[in-house]
Amino acid sequence: MKKRNKKTLPPPVEPQNDRRSSSLPAERRDSGILGDFLKGLLVIALILAAKVAFEHTEPGHQLEVAGYVYLQRHLAADDVPVQILDISDLGVEETHSNGRTYRATPRDTLEKLIQAIIDQEPRVIGIDIDFSPDANGYLTPDDQKFFQFCLDSGVPILLGVHRTQVLQPEAWLGDPRFEPLGASIIIPNETRKLPLTIRTSPQFKPGRAMGAALGTVFGEARCRVGEFLEQMGVAERQWNTELGAGGEIVEFPVDYSALDELMRNKTLRTTSPDLVREQGSRFHNKIVLIGRAALGEVKDTFPVAGQTQPISGVYIHASAAYTIAKAPLYELKWKSRLALDAIMSGGILLALIGIRLRFRNSASVRISTSKLQTLLTVIVVGAAIIFGVVLVRITCVLWTDFVLALGAVVLHPTIEHRLSRLWEFIKRTVPRFFLKLISESDEEVRK
């Protein structure tokens, strides 16, 4: 039969199922296709369940991080509107006044630097130093004067807060008058997402985080595809994360593609107001972040996925500001990711079944299920890579589990084949074993 078929109908090569079905009546052929469809659905469900379970394991997490790093590399930073003023050479000054000792970054030097920057007309200034008071009150006797100077400067200025961020925002800098200045400079242990706002109690209003606040004051960028997907309920730009009992942190995914540019070309290390004035154009119309950035000289360094060395806090805030101001990112919701996985696998299955049904009665064309499945898988994976990975800059959507999702699609035929064989084996051996188990032995019969 095999030989005869080959002679009469040379291409294409048929799989066993179709060969068998070609000689079967039409009703049995249809029921065979339907059976394959149901089997395919079952396999999809099994693979999706396995994928979801695998996502929660350490290797699954590592694969997601790998996907994240790969996507970050496809995000190209252009026109970075952030300028860093690295004041690593400005040490802490110890002063004595009224019998007390104060250790802090000298406010007068900061004031002169800020004034020099203000003269260049920046859009917003952030200072990545913790200005919040401590158990002895303000860090220097001049803090209130300095805060007032920042308030009256005519340019939005944000001052770092860390010690008091557990309090309500109006108390962050010791007085509700200074509330517009305060911005939290906390950086989470997991730096893929950074805080937009922090609220430690439902009774408090949310307090701003430095990077996001700088970006917001500069002006939020928009991404049409991302916005559309957000409206459709597929993707999200912000996440509400619970903080203890009743607290809440709103987070957003960060685009770190500007890191290289920020470190190489957007950092000016000086404590001289004259140099700031000389290089004025670097600050004009920019988000200016003042802080200590020199790696190896500061303690506030953080691991960032995809970076070989730890990154100073000031660059992380700068990346956050860049994301909000220029490169908003979205992430697929958990449900959407699951739906996408199902659509990809289900799409292949439906197309496969549809084509088989279309040509089921054709005498001239006979479909090779395995070849067709391979072709459809290549098309779906190719399309997914183009839209999900290559065009991430346009879609603004971080599909971080694409490695796992596409892996599941690619492995689908193999898994299905293995499962079929396993099922055949079970069908063959289990009833036999069961019968053997319950049937009487010859000895028992004789007895």
Partner: protein
């Protein structure tokens, strides 16, 4: 009778222990800030503190308040607080007002677990301890704490502990102006830590009475490595040239990441060849490695007068 006595003893112990534990714990339990004060206002750490501190209207504004701290407003005075439970005015004259546990800011621990400071503060750099140097290796027998003396005359407390473990040694009430602390008990504690087979790095945490806190992390030299170090040093000590002895020893210490000892050896070598510019440069770098910025700057200033290469 015996049972009753035991019960009373247990109750007394529990009362004292829990009382003190609550007090220690309350140190970090932020409850609010002082928004403004007028007139005579006094503050004390707890109700057990004997001597209250008179607060200054200007200097004590924005002071963070912790649970169990107490405030007392004198005649004609006034204190306005922002507590996490809401704003609070303390009118005069009033008995001691206690910042109660109900005023404590919620979710502090959750926030601490979420992330850390992504910027600089007073303790982000210029940590006064330079021996043991941060991220260096220390031999328990050579363990001495050196720091840049505090001109403010603050009192220091040192705690040695593994990152997530209990303190293995605590040294209190040390005069910050001394600049060094040589403690046999600390050495013994470190030796015991190593003998117990612990290999986790240790943290030396310095808290001073002026409100500053800093820390360094160091690892202990294993007994096997210590024996090897001794051999290496003995080999260097055989050199007849004293200068070469110190340079050789410095190299050995460097290979063991014992940066404070490297600096000491270069200092000794510099005494023999004070005009060597190369040696001076190496000594400056060695001090930079340990974080002894005072000595580094001192040597930098004097480098102008050095002549030989």
């Amino acid at each position: 009778m015996k049972v009753l006595f035991r019960f009373c003893c247990t109750l007394l112990f529990a009362f004292v222990y829990l009382g003190s534990a609550t007090e220690i714990f309350s140190q970090a339990r932020v409850a609010g800030i002082i928004l403004e004060i007028h007139g005579p206002v006094s503050w004390r750490k707890t109700r057990r503190s004997k001597i209250p501190t008179r607060l200054d209207q200007r200097l004590d504004q924005a002071r963070i308040l912790y649970v169990n701290e107490q405030l007392k407003v004198g005649r004609g005075g006034k204190a306005r607080l922002i507590l996490c439970s809401g704003p609070k005015d303390i009118p005069p004259p009033m008995d001691w007002f206690t910042v109660s546990a109900s005023s404590e800011c919620p979710n502090r621990s959750a926030l601490e677990a979420y992330g850390r400071l992504g910027g600089s503060d007073r303790t982000s750099f210029n940590a006064p301890i330079f021996s043991p140097a941060d991220h260096s290796v220390v031999s328990p027998d050579r363990f001495v704490i050196h720091w840049m003396p505090s001109v403010a005359g603050c009192t220091f407390t040192f705690v040695i502990k593994p990152k997530d473990g209990k303190a293995i040694r605590e040294e209190e009430n040390i005069d910050g102006r001394l600049g060094s602390w040589d403690s046999d008990q600390a050495r013994q504690a470190i030796r015991k830590y190593r003998a117990d087979g612990e290999i986790a790095p240790l943290h030396l945490i310095l808290t001073d009475s002026c409100g500053n806190k800093s820390d360094v992390t160091f690892s202990l030299l294993s007994e096997k490595r210590e024996a090897a170090l001794k051999e290496d040093l003995e080999r260097q000590d055989k050199n007849p040239d004293e200068l070469m002895v110190h340079l050789g020893r410095a190299q050995v210490f460097e290979s063991y990441r014992m940066f404070s000892d490297v600096a000491e050896e270069y200092e000794a070598a510099l005494k023999i060849a004070p005009k060597s510019r190369n040696l001076l440069r190496r000594t400056i770098l060695a001090h930079q490695e340990t974080g002894n910025s005072l000595r580094k700057e001192e040597l930098k200033k004097s480098s102008g007068s050095k002549t030989s290469p």
